[in-house]
């Protein structure tokens, strides 16, 4: 078309874009390091399924329609990128085609047809999107000017390209191609326009224009498209649409093997860390680059908010805003942050202490004045989280919300020494007697009196260690579950023992509340005992214990095979070691515990057991499986007061009560307590019994 | 014959039951008894003091002694003890007693034991028995000095209405007031309500009552029975009940004839304050509540439902 103009546009457009991207990249590189260069194949697979396949949008029953809408727009982009390249080429060389996409190849025709359909679909989807945003106004969405602008720009891109092709068609077919335009006409496949019905349809809309008018449209649409596209490209890094560029890498780089980045084991003896306040997340510059990328990638879709149990119950934790607040702080302090990192890079381990001192002082000057918790994020917001991971489960771009919250809590508890004081009693109990209730450690095995349960201290030669947990040892309601589990294990002839008074709290809640010191103390003591007994396999009835023993103890030298009691029981039923001779009467439903489901992906074993043990079969709750609704006790919240908004457990109890069931089964002592309490609050504890799966099996086994 | 001096427990001009209980015990040890009464307008109680079982009444009656002050009170007791040549000096269970007894012991170079539940005398050898370690163990203590100062646990000794004493008043000189620790104000809580320490029946309210409506309901029951009205720690912490109503390890320790625990779960700290009661009745919605492990009679039910029925039934029986 016009190589000079095209060059100019490309140079300017790409130069500005590059500059923006370089700054964004430098900012990420100035953040803390983290390793993500492993397991490339698995990463590619994730990217293919989640990012390219848009799994979390089209694979989700809820909002499937709007998920499909976005997917189509995205896939449209993927397809149309080749078209764009062709257009850029056309700016330089008349009739430019990309290799293998020329008229000689079937692929070329297929592409042309696909491109045509996609453009129509994308346009239709954009219109649908605008309609949804402006008219339907779903509550999770934020209607910003940027959102409308981007949708309009996409519409312009589609319309301009369709009009471009329409004009082309008219010039070639109606006006007998006065300018000698290029088009496909391979006799094997026919005219190009046989394959582009949408463009042809659009052409008919402007068929009234004469040849000159049509040529004018062609040229105008061409440059409109190019300019819009280059502007669009440069607009992307400036707002939520940065995700268009960063989503694929963000998913590629997401955590593997565990749903999110594991909490760091802090070196509490490190004086330097105390000095520069790097224990936990205290300043924005302490984010690692992946977390920075997460901030860039938030699409502001609000799905996280929608499923968050605290947001739903009117607490001030709005994850979209959480992300946004951090992002704003990051961008606002970008310059200083980059300078600070440059200074940090100049410090040599064996350098001159005076110089290091000066550099450190200069670095301190560049640290943001805003307190991360206080100015950027409110304390109530930070502490409301139950760490249930519902947000991470639905996030289409795999942002890892929870680790940031835990890291900030670490900073609060260790450095700022501000945290909900109700936790003090629980921390004290841990320290003194190894359980958050502070009940004498010598009573930890009282629940097992008279059951003939072996202690490891008497005979460590067993197949399994049964990890009872604090609730199972001390909480009157949960003790019944421990007893049921013992009955099942004994009936099945499993060789097991308990640690008894040697067992201590795994430290889960302390870690979630940011008290790394308490957690490490518990972990060290437990690991020492477990390793002394050479424990290999552990059965846990509590998903929190399970999670910590299995995924976090390895960080400190404890490597064990940990199995949830529902997995074990399911196996026992399947293999016939346990036989059920009666069934649970009445309708039955199951509440998926967060730490069993979303943290450890155990959804099937409990259901398999419940199907076997129930007369009427299992009714699913609306929010079940990976989208189960938290009971409210996780994240250390069991030990904190719930003073804001509605009560989470009541919310869930109401949902369960709405199912009209006579029993709700759970697989976690926290859920057991919270849901049973919720039923009591609703005065429904007689109608709806809350039972652990172990209790249901024990009651009905032969 | 041993000489036992009992410090009279007087509140708002009324002689409290512990005085008679301590004097009765003294008589069972075949001791010569005396009391010391300190305060304002206490001289009028001499007859009552004698009737309670004392053979001599040491009186320190002055306006300056109206409000409790450890220094002057200790001085009066020491003066009485020296005049009487007391072998043992017993205080009833009260904050005043706990504050004064050690001072008296230090001045007299005597041994001191608090919270005693029994005392034995074999010739000159005095031994006391008292709980320790939050009531988990009982200690038997040998007194090595000639004199013992003791604070007696509530309800440890039984009053014997059969015993009586003689009126023999001795006036003590009034000590100088302690200007270094002066009570400026007393914020009395719910005056007119029966003192927990003295009450024959105590009705206590716990978290099961939920709110003010529940508390008022339980209070009605207490009124019906002219009982002392107490509370578990939960309701004190919640701001519903005053500090001095708390029955428990860190509050008041009571040992009434009948203790009614309404909506109280029975945490160890609370039990420590009332397991000395003769009969315990508990009402709680939760059949597993630990209170049922110590209650003689337990009703599993909602106190909102049970209390009206309870009041009705009690009215029927008591007439």
């Amino acid at each position: 078309m016009n190589p000079l103009l095209m060059s100019l546009l490309l140079v300017v457009g790409l130069a500005v874009f590059s500059r923006t991207m370089v700054v964004k990249l430098r900012l990420l590189m100035a953040l803390e390091p983290t390793g993500r260069a492993d397991h490339l194949l698995e990463r590619l697979k994730n990217m293919a399924i989640i990012a390219i396949g848009q799994k979390r949008l089209v694979g989700r029953k809820k909002e499937w329609a709007s998920g499909m809408m976005h997917a189509l727009i995205f896939w449209g982009f993927c397809v149309l990128i080749l078209r764009s390249l062709t257009l850029y080429g056309e700016g330089f060389v008349h009739g430019f085609q990309l290799p293998f996409l020329g008229e000689e190849h079937l692929v070329g025709y297929l592409y042309v047809g696909l491109k045509d359909i996609m453009e129509g679909l994308v346009l239709a989807m954009v219109i649908y999107a605008l309609f949804r945003r402006a008219i339907l106004k779903p509550s999770r969405m934020h209607n910003t000017r940027e959102a409308y602008l981007v949708l309009c720009m996409i519409a312009v891109l589609m319309i301009s390209d369709l009009l471009l092709d329409g004009a082309r068609y008219n010039l070639i077919v109606l006006h007998h191609n006065p300018g000698g335009l290029d088009f496909f006409n391979n006799p094997r496949y026919g005219s190009e326009f046989l394959w582009t019905p949408v463009a042809v349809g659009v052409a008919s809309l402007i068929s009234g224009l004469g040849a000159d008018g049509t040529k004018g449209v062609l040229t105008a649409m061409f440059w409109l498209h190019i300019i819009t596209q280059l502007s669009f490209l440069n607009l992307l890094p400036l707002g939520k649409h940065f995700h268009v560029i960063t989503a694929l890498p963000n998913v590629f780089l997401k955590s593997l093997g565990y749903p999110h980045e594991k909490t760091k084991v802090l070196d509490l003896e490190d004086e330097a860390a105390w000095e520069n306040e790097s224990l936990g997340l205290n300043h924005i510059h302490q984010l690692n680059w992946k977390q920075g990328l997460d901030l860039y990638t938030c699409t502001e879709c609000g799905r996280c908010k929608e499923v968050c149990p605290t947001y739903i119950t009117d607490k001030p934790l709005n994850l979209l805003e959480f992300n946004d607040s951090l992002k704003k702080e990051l961008l606002a302090t970008a310059d200083n942050l980059i300078k600070r990192a440059q200074l940090a890079a100049t410090i040599k381990v064996d350098g001159d202490p005076g110089q290091i001192e000066k550099t450190r002082a200069a670095m301190a000057e560049l640290t943001s004045q805003n307190t991360l918790v206080g100015d950027v994020i409110l304390p109530d917001t930070l502490w409301a989280c139950t760490t249930c991971r519902a947000c991470e489960q639905v996030c289409p771009v795999t942002i890892e919300h929870v680790p940031r919250i835990i890291a900030m809590r670490q900073g609060q508890t260790l450095m700022a020494e501000t945290y909900p004081k109700e936790l003090n009693a629980a921390f004290k109990g841990l320290e003194r007697n190894g359980n958050p209730w502070g009940i004498g450690y010598d009573k930890r095995a009282d629940w097992a009196e008279g059951l003939g349960v072996k202690r490891m201290a008497d005979d460590p030669d067993v197949d399994y260690l049964l990890w009872v947990g604090c609730a199972g040892s001390f909480d009157d309601r949960s003790k019944k579950v421990s007893v049921s589990l013992v009955k099942i294990l004994q009936k099945a002839g499993i060789r097991f023992a308990i640690l008894g008074v040697e067992e201590k709290c795994t430290g889960d809640f302390a870690r979630r509340a940011g008290n790394e010191m308490m957690y490490q103390m518990m972990a060290q003591e437990n690991i020492e005992i477990l390793n002394n007994y050479k424990v290999k396999k552990i059965i846990a009835a509590c998903p929190h214990c399970l999670n910590t023993l299995k995924h976090e103890y390895p960080q400190m030298g404890g490597h064990y095979e940990v199995i949830h009691h529902t997995r074990l029981i399911d196996g026992l039923i399947q293999s016939g070691k346990i036989r059920l001779n009666t069934k649970v009467q009445g309708s039955l439903t199951y509440h998926d515990p967060c730490y069993l489901g979303r943290y450890n992906e155990i959804y099937d074993s409990p259901r398999s057991i419940l199907q076997s043990v129930s007369q009427q079969g299992l009714t699913e709750l609306d929010r079940h499986g990976p989208e189960s609704f938290c009971c409210g006790a996780g994240g250390g919240r069991m030990w904190m007061e719930e003073t804001i908004g509605k009560r989470i457990n009541r919310e869930r109890a109401q949902e369960i009560a709405g199912q009209n069931v006579s029993t709700v089964a759970v697989g976690c002592p926290f859920c057991l307590t919270m849901i049973e309490d919720g039923m009591k609050e609703l005065n429904k504890e007689e109608q709806i019994r809350t039972q652990d799966i172990a209790e249901l099996v024990a009651k009905n086994m032969l | 014959m041993a000489k036992i001096l009992v410090i009279a427990d007087i509140k708002e001009g009324v002689l409290k039951g512990s005085t008679a209980e301590l004097l009765s015990k003294a008589k069972t040890l075949s001791a010569q008894t005396a009391v010391v009464a300190i305060g304002s307008n206490v001289e009028s109680l001499v007859a009552d003091l004698a009737a309670a079982g004392s053979d001599t009444q040491y009186i320190a009656d002055d306006k300056s002694l109206e409000l409790f002050s450890a220094g002057p009170y200790a001085a009066c007791v020491v003066a009485a003890a020296q005049q009487f040549e007391a072998d043992m000096i017993w205080f009833g269970f009260s904050e005043a007693g706990k504050a004064v007894a050690p001072r008296v012991a230090a001045q007299l170079n005597a041994a001191c034991a608090t919270e005693i539940i029994d005392v034995t005398l074999e010739g000159e050898k005095i031994q006391v028995v008292r709980p320790a370690i939050a009531g988990k163990v009982i200690q038997r203590i040998q007194v090595n000095t000639q004199t013992l100062v003791a604070v007696v646990r509530a309800g440890a000794f039984a009053a014997n209405p059969g015993i009586t004493g003689t009126q023999n008043m001795v006036k003590l000189s009034i000590p100088a007031p302690d200007l270094k620790a002066v009570i400026k104000q007393i914020l009395s809580d719910a005056s007119g309500e029966i003192d927990l320490a003295d009450a024959d029946i105590v009705v206590s309210v716990g978290r099961g009552a939920r709110d003010q409506a529940g508390i008022d309901l339980v209070r009605e029951l207490a009124r019906d029975l002219s009982a002392g009205f107490g509370s578990s720690r939960a309701m004190v912490d919640g701001g519903f009940m005053a500090h001095n109503k708390q029955v428990g390890q860190t509050g008041k320790i009571v040992a009434p004839t009948l203790y009614m625990a309404m909506g109280i779960s029975g945490a160890i700290q609370h039990l420590a304050g009332m397991t000395g009661s003769k009969t315990i009745l508990a009402v709680n919605k939760d059949p597993e509540a630990p209170i049922f492990n110590v209650a003689d009679y337990g009703i599993v039910g909602d106190l909102f439902e049970v209390i009206p029925i309870l009041r009705q039934e009690i009215k029927k029986i008591r007439g």
Binding site: - | Q139, I299, E313, I317
Partner: protein, 260 residues
């Protein structure tokens, strides 16, 4: 203002206590800071933070006490004196008070804060005896302390007829109730720094006294036997129709327990 706080190491009362042959079985027991003294430490640290008071802690015991003392450092106490002497194994409250008197007289203290009682003895004597020996005013069962000026404090006390507001002329002794405050958890940073702080350890000779002088060798009373306390047994529990069981129980109260 200079504050002296006393801190005792006691057995953890949460645990089951077993008696064998009239003595307590030590095996399995753990020891902690006396809860009421913890309140005292918190009160002292709050006065430091609010009124700039200087805080010193004194504890009588052995090297086992150092963990507890470091926790108090982590809470904010500035200095600590540990009196460690084998002759004190049979000391009673009077002997402890004499030792504390000696410590007090070596310093220039305005206020002594002790917990109102120790969790192992539940006696509540030492602080008051100390006040008597020092001839200082003493107010016990205190639930709040407010500094009026250099020489006066105002405290509230849980008395027999209500809460007493008492104005005290310093120097004085105050024993605190657990209702006075919620002791803070020693913060991590405090614990780190406390590891390096020194604890002044003295035996009786270094303190300038002796076992005989404090009466440590001849206690005024001594424990000759420990016994298990009688536990109440569960009685009858009634479930069912409220009207029916309540009537039943009232009948039993009248005729069986004879309380009505």
């Amino acid at each position: 203002m200079k504050i002296l706080t006393t801190v005792k190491r006691v057995v953890d009362v949460e645990l089951n206590i077993h008696i064998e042959n009239g003595a307590i079985v030590e095996d399995g027991l753990q020891y902690v800071i006396n809860a009421w003294d913890e309140n005292g430490v918190e009160a002292a640290v709050q006065l430091k933070e609010k009124n700039g008071a200087q805080t010193t802690l004194v504890s009588i015991g052995g090297q086992d006490n150092t963990d507890m003392i470091r926790k108090c450092y982590a809470m904010g106490m500035e200095d600590a004196i540990l009196i460690d002497d084998p002759a004190l194994v049979s000391a009673d409250a009077f002997a402890f008070a004499r030792i504390l008197q000696t410590v007090y007289e070596k310093g220039d203290y305005d206020l002594v804060i002790t917990g109102k009682q120790a969790q192992d003895t539940d006696s509540g004597q030492t602080g008051i005896i100390l006040a008597e020996y020092l001839q200082l005013p003493c107010v016990s069962n205190v639930i709040s302390i407010e500094v009026m000026d250099e020489a006066h404090i105002r405290v509230s006390r849980l008395g027999d007829s209500g809460t007493e507001i008492v104005e005290i002329t310093l120097p004085a002794v105050v024993t605190v109730s657990d209702s006075i405050n919620e002791p803070r958890l020693p913060a991590m940073r405090g614990i780190m720094m406390a590891k390096k702080k020194k604890i002044q350890t003295l035996d009786l000779a270094a303190l300038g006294t002796s076992a005989e002088a404090v009466g440590g060798a001849a206690p005024k009373s001594e424990i000759v036997e420990f016994m298990k306390s009688k536990t109440r047994k569960a009685g009858q529990k009634f479930e069912g129709d409220a009207a029916q069981i309540t009537a039943q129980v009232v009948e039993l109260l009248a005729n069986e327990a004879k309380v009505f």
